[in-house]
Amino acid sequence: MQSAIAVRGLTKTYAEGSAGTQALRGVDLDAHAGELLMLMGPSGSGKTTLLSIMGCILTATSGSVRVAGIEVTSLGEKDLPGIRLEHIGFVFQGFNLFPTLTAGENVELMLDLKGVSAPAAKKRAQELLEQVGLTSKYGSFPADLSGGQKQRVAIARALAGDPQIILADEPTAALDSHTGRNVMETLSELAHKRGRAVVIVTHDSRVLDFADRIVKIEDGRIAEAQELELAPAVPLVHNFRQAAANLRQYIER
C-alpha cells in the first residue's frame, strides 16, 4: 500500500529548561491512502506533536517526514505552507471556523487560497456542503450551527483543497455520541470511498471501531500498533463494519 505520509526516526525536543523536553523519541510511522489511522495515547504522550509534524506545522528535531513522496524536513518556512495547501486538510477539535464568515464562505476561503475564482469557488463550496449534508446551511454563520454541523463544515473546508491527507485532532471531542459518530462516518467515507489517508488523534473510545489501524503512543514512542484484521480498502468489509456500528448505535438508543 502506498504511504501518503512516511515518518522515520522522528524526534522532537522542545527547548524548555536546561535539558529541554523530548516530545518524540524516534517514531516510525506510515499513513496510507484509503486508510483511517487513529493515534491514541495519554495527554502529553506526543501524539499532537506527531500530528503537527506530519501536517508540516511543526518541524522535527531529527528524522525524516515524507508527505506525498516529498521530503519535508529539509524545507523552510516559505515552502511548508505550499505543502500543507496542496496535500493536507485539517480538521480541528474546536472546529476553527471563521466566525465572521458564513459556512459557505469558510469553504470558499480554502478555495481562494488555492487560487480558484470567486464564482467557481462558490459553486464548489455549495457542492462540498452538499456532500456533508449541509446544503441549506450555506449562508449560516458558525454561531447558528450545531457542533456536528460546524465539524462537517470544517470537513468540507478541509476537502476543498482536494488533499490526499486529512489530519484530524480530536474531531469528536466536542460532540455528543450520536453527532460524533456521524462525523466519524464522514471521515471514514473519505478514507474508504475516496481513498484519502485519514489520520485522527483521539481519546474517544466510542469511535475506535471506525479505525483501520490504531497506534498507541506513550512517552514519545509508539507503544503498540494494532492492525485490524480486516482490510479496510475492501468495500464489503467496510460496509459490514458500518452495519455493525449502526446496529450498536441502535441498541444504545
Binding site: T48, T49, L51, S52, G55, I57, L58, K78, P81, G82, I83, R84, L85, E86, I88, F90, F92, Q93, G94, N96, F98, P99, T100, L101, E105, N106, E108, L109, M110, D112, L113, R157, G161, D169, E170, A173, A174
Partner: protein
Amino acid sequence: MPPLARRNLFHDKVRLVVTLTGIVFSVVLIVVQLGLFFGFTAATSNLIDHSGADLWITAKNVPYVEQGVAFSERKLNQARALAGVADAQKMITHWTQWKRHDGGEESVQIVGINVDDNLERPWNLVEGRVEDLKAPDAIILDELYKAKLGVTRVGEIFEIGGHRARVVGFTRGIRSFTTSPYVFTSFKNAQNYTGLREDQTLFILVRAAPGSDLESVRRGLLAHLRDVEVFTTPEFSHMTTFYWMFTTGAGVAVLIAAVLGLVVGFVVVAQTIYATTMDHLREYGTLKAMGAPASYVYKVIMKQAAISAVIGYVLGMIVSAFVVHASQAGGAAILMPPPMAVGMFFVTLIMCVGAALVSINKVMRIDPALVFRG
C-alpha cells in the same frame, strides 16, 4: 477573497468605534495643528505677500517686517530713478497704542501707505473704499478686531498714538500673527501715529518694470542706495515667517502638537488593531495551518487597517471641515489647503498600516500548536 478583513473589522462594533474614534481624533488633531501652522504662517507674512511689490528696500539688519528701522525717504527718489524700476513707494508698519472709548489701550500695528498707489493696499474690503483713506485721520481695520478695539461702526472716532483716527472701512480676514490688529492709513497719518519723522520711512516697496530682470534691478538698487538691503518679496516673506514660526518657537510648538497628534493616533490605532488581531489570533493560526502564505495573512490585516483608515479619514475630515469653518470667525485661522487635505489621506493610511505592522509581527510569531488547542 471572502470578506474576512471587513467582517472581522465590523464584527465587534464597540472596538470598531474605538478604532475609528482614535483615527478621527488623530486626523482632527493633525489637521487643526497643521492648519494652525499654515494659518499662522500666512498671518506672519500677510502684509508682504499682499503688497504687490517685487522688491523690499529696508535698513540694514532688519530681520522681519515688524522690526523696520527708519531711514531717509530721499532714497525713494533715488530708487525711482533707476532703470528697471516701474514704481516705488514708501511704507510704514509699526506698533503703536490704540485708545478705546472705555479708556483701555490696545497695541495695534499701523500700516501706512500711499493711497494713490496700488502697493500694499488693504484687501477684502467689506465696508468702505481704499480711497476713503485720503480723508484726514481716516483708518481701515479688520472686522475681526472690532470687539478687541471697541469699534462698532464706520464713522467712529478713536485715538491712536495721541492722534485722532476715524474708522472709514472694514476688511475681512486680515489677521495679524502678533494679535495686534493691522490699522491701514495714509503714509502721512502713519507718521503721526507712530511718531516717525517726516523725512523718514521704514520700507520702500519697488515694482519692477515688466520684462526686467529682478536680480539686475536688485543689484542696481544695492549699488546706488547706501546702507540698505534689498529683498525680493518671497525672500522677505520667508524671513518674516521663519522669524515668527521658528526663531520664536511658536511654529515649532504647533508642529510638535501636530506630530503628537500623529503619535497619539498611531498608538490608539495600533492598540485597537492589535487587540482586534489578538481576538482573531486563532483564526490567523488556522489560516496559516490551511496553507495560507504569509502574504495572504498580511493582506487580511492590511485590508482591515486600510478600511479603518478610509472611514476614519472621511469622518475626520468632516469634523475638521467644521472646525476649519468655525475658526474663520476667530483670531487664529486654521487653513486646510487642498494639498494638505489630500496629504492627510496618505498620512492616515500610513498611520493605520504602520500600526497594523505591530500586529503582523505578532501574527507571524504565532505558536503553530495553537490550532490544535481545543
